[in-house]
Amino acid sequence: MIEVRWHGRGGQGAVTSVELLAVSAIAAGKYAQGFPSFGPERRGAPVAAFTRIDDKKINVRSGIYEPDVVLVLDASLIGLVNVLDGLKPGGKLIVNTAKSPDEIRKDLHFSGTVATVDGTGIARKEMGVPIANTTMIGALLKVTGVMDLDAMKESVEHRFGRIAQKNLNAMKRSYDEIKISN
């Protein structure tokens, strides 16, 4: 089982991303859970969302405390919230930033895998908006290999209709452009 914690701000679409990812994984024949950090959420305030993906039925229904992967949608949260909290020592940290993985590694003193991509820049170019939630799904799939990028197509088309292709293009670019430092 792979457990992912997403960090974002209310309104940046972390919950949409975990939903799309879970729906796509299930459509691809896997078992998955996607859920927000339960409770009231406010636009702009730090929020977390969670994904579990496995090949067999998932029974656990408690929170995720020791994720395999942490994905940071908004790099301004680094320093405000402890994004490394509980992340397994050999875990993977993915950050939406123009900085290099080594710069982030130095900032956070993290020994596991660090991967970065300018998701916001890609989203701006591909979709004309600085919202990188779907874009960063591409990065996550590249770093984890949990499933193929193609598996996202159906749920993204269902969710976004005529702007689906732009989302898929952005996702593909972050998949291709993510820089990974092990």
Partner: protein, 391 residues
């Protein structure tokens, strides 16, 4: 087996209700039930189902409206949570006394105060004696299945009682997870049209919910009790029928590795599957632990509970609510009373946990087992404890 799809459970519940040919829904939105209200309202507004969606101004009105529409012979649905359920309270016994087969989802949430929007069972417990059939579900699939099954149970001529389906708020309602959604054809085959016993109509006047003084009130209360007790037979039949059609079987009491267990735990609702993982961990260490899941809260399945726990030395009853100043959690006191006359019965421990959304990871469940096993002098038996409370 159908194809597994992924969807948020609350939305899926509304989809499932949408397959049930309802005539009317009156739902006032409240967190964490809101997505049921919103999506059902969408289904009606988009013309996907032919039903009336009454936008009431409160839960009291929602329940009043479904009582009226059910009396008029309409298949009627509502859903609520927490304070909304408390606000409905005075109408719940009226719905059951009038023998109206209303179906209601409850996205279980703590009641105020202090204000809290997260999951526990303190909303349903004060409704226990309202005369409703009360079912708890443990995952998304059950939430969907029971949402459909409830209509058939409620409307059966030998039942004619309202049913509430308890779906843990957030923990279940806000979870995107896999399940199989029955098709419209399958539901049509399972669920016949609603044939009411009597209907309110100006052309053929009848009285429902009449006045009764001491001359008849006792008899009506006895009739209500008998009706609720008798409903179990139909519940079992309908669940069996569901199992034959869909391959998913439901029982009032489910067990997991309980047959040879020396220590058992009892859960209700969404905690069951996480507790199951704790049982596996304990078994791997050679501890004979087992699990009992209570699905049917009313009518209470006395025989099934007794059969499930009779061989255990110790039983941990978990509760997601408390009876303040009383004997402990409401499930605990129910189980104790069910076993009072038994010659052979386990020592019973009660942990009140997961209040107001406090998370309960696997380690907490194993911790409860370890604590009970360490109580070799049995000093903590028959007592209750707020698990993990800071003092």
């Amino acid at each position: 087996m159908g194809k597994r799809i992924g969807m948020e459970v609350a939305v899926a519940v509304a989809e499932a209700v949408g397959l049930c040919n309802i005539d009317m829904a009156a739902v006032y939105p409240i967190t964490p039930q809101s997505h049921i209200a919103e999506h059902l309202s969408d289904l009606v507004a988009d013309g996907k189902i032919d039903a009336e969606f009454v936008t009431v101004e409160s839960e009291h009105s929602a329940m009043s409206a479904v009582i009226g529409s059910s009396g008029a012979g309409a298949r009627s649905y509502t859903a609520t949570s927490s304070q909304g359920l408390m606000y409905m309270h005075e109408l719940l016994p009226i719905a059951s006394a009038m023998r109206l087969p209303i179906t209601m989802a409850i996205a279980n949430r703590a009641v105020s105060g202090p204000l809290n929007i997260l999951n526990d069972h303190s909303d349903i417990m004060p409704q226990r004696d309202s005369g409703w059939i009360s079912i708890f579900v443990e995952n998304g699939q059950e939430s969907i299945d029971m949402s459909i099954i409830a209509f058939k149970i409620a409307e059966h001529k030998d039942v004619m009682l309202p049913v509430n389906i308890n779906i843990d708020g957030f923990q279940l309602t806000h979870m995107v997870e896999p399940f199989e959604m029955p098709t419209q054809e399958e539901v049509n085959k399972f669920l016949p049209p609603f044939v009411p016993h009597a209907t309110l109509h100006p052309a053929k006047p009848v009285t429902m919910g009449a006045f009764a003084m001491s001359d008849y009130f006792t008899e009506i209360m006895k009739a209500k009790d008998e009706a609720l007790k008798n409903s179990k037979k139909v519940i079992l039949e309908v669940w069996d029928e569901w199992a034959k059609l869909f391959g998913r079987s439901y029982k009032p009491v489910e067990t997991y590795k309980a047959d040879d267990a020396e220590v058992l735990m009892l859960t209700m609702g969404s905690m069951g599957e996480t507790a199951q993982m704790a049982i596996d961990e304990l078994r791997a260490k050679g501890i004979k632990a087992g699990l009992v899941k209570l699905r049917l809260w009313r009518p209470f399945p006395f025989e099934e509970i007794k059969a499930a726990i009779k061989n255990a030395k110790k039983l941990i009853v978990t509760d997601r609510a408390n009876s303040f100043g009383g004997p402990g959690g409401p499930v605990f006191s129910e189980i104790k009373s069910a076993l009072y006359a038994e010659v052979q019965r386990p020592l019973i421990y009660n942990y009140i946990y997961g209040l107001g959304g406090r998370d309960v990871p696997v380690g907490d469940f194993t911790g409860m087992f370890e604590k009970v096993l360490a109580d070799t002098a049995n000093k903590q038996a028959d007592t209750y404890e707020f698990w993990g409370v800071r003092e």
